[in-house]
């Protein structure tokens, strides 16, 4: 199901992950969130931007356990826990946030 934003069409896979990593732009994340009935705030963006830079550095989307630990290190213990991350991304922080960030589904995610 292709995603339409600002009159442009973007290819996605059957689960809604962006087909081409380089197509990503912030407006896509907002559009995907809207389709899920969510609105992205500053805290969401913190995680999305973190995931994008993690991918750039390591060429993988981190598993949720790795994400939680890394967020804790970068943004503080109060944010590096599952409760905080699941509140922001109820469909699963790694899965949902990676989708908004235009990354592939994390390795090891079923």
């Amino acid at each position: 199901m292709p995603l339409e934003v600002d009159g442009k069409t973007f290819e996605t896979d059957e689960e809604g992950y962006l087909a081409n990593l380089n197509d990503w732009q912030p407006e896509l994340a907002d559009a995907m969130a809207e389709a899920d009935g969510a609105e992205l705030g500053e805290n969401h963006w913190e995680v999305i931007n973190f995931l994008r830079s993690y991918y750039e550095e390591y060429q993988i989307a981190p598993a949720v356990r790795v994400l939680t630990k890394a967020i804790g290190k970068k943004l503080g213990k109060d944010k590096g826990n599952s409760k905080y991350l699941y509140e922001l991304f109820p469909y699963g922080p790694a899965k949902q946030a990676c989708k908004y960030a235009g990354l592939p589904k994390p390795t090891g995610c079923v």
């Binding site: 550095e57 390591y58 060429q59 993988i60 981190p62 790795v66 890394a70 290190k73 390795t107 090891g108």
Partner: protein, 139 residues
Amino acid sequence: MENGEGVVKKFCYINRKAPYGTIYALESLEVVLIAAAFDQDISLVFADDGVYQLTKGQDTDGIGMKNFSKTYTALGDYDIKKVYVEKESLEERGLSAEDLQALKYEDEDDDWAEKDSLFVVGREDLVKIIDEQDVVLSF
């Protein structure tokens, strides 16, 4: 399973092929990352042409494949702290530890101190390490 605790086994993944040209290296890496979620005692071995998987400065532009070599440096985040590279395999290929990427992990219990997770070991020691494993998977 006793007292609700999972059984922890020693898993060893042996990588013996060059990174590109076959899918073995990438598949092995994916399997390792998935297995890491199950809190097992994991070690990786790189021997024969497998040592090329860890070399620095890989450039895959010419072959149109994803350069997944950077992903090895994320192994520490996945709590994989034992990566053994066979010394003889390096020497036979004119390589040394300096040609390999630095692999580190951050010790959460030691104020995130960076510690080495890559060890160059001789063939005889490697035999002992492999001998101690419960499960050995060869790629």
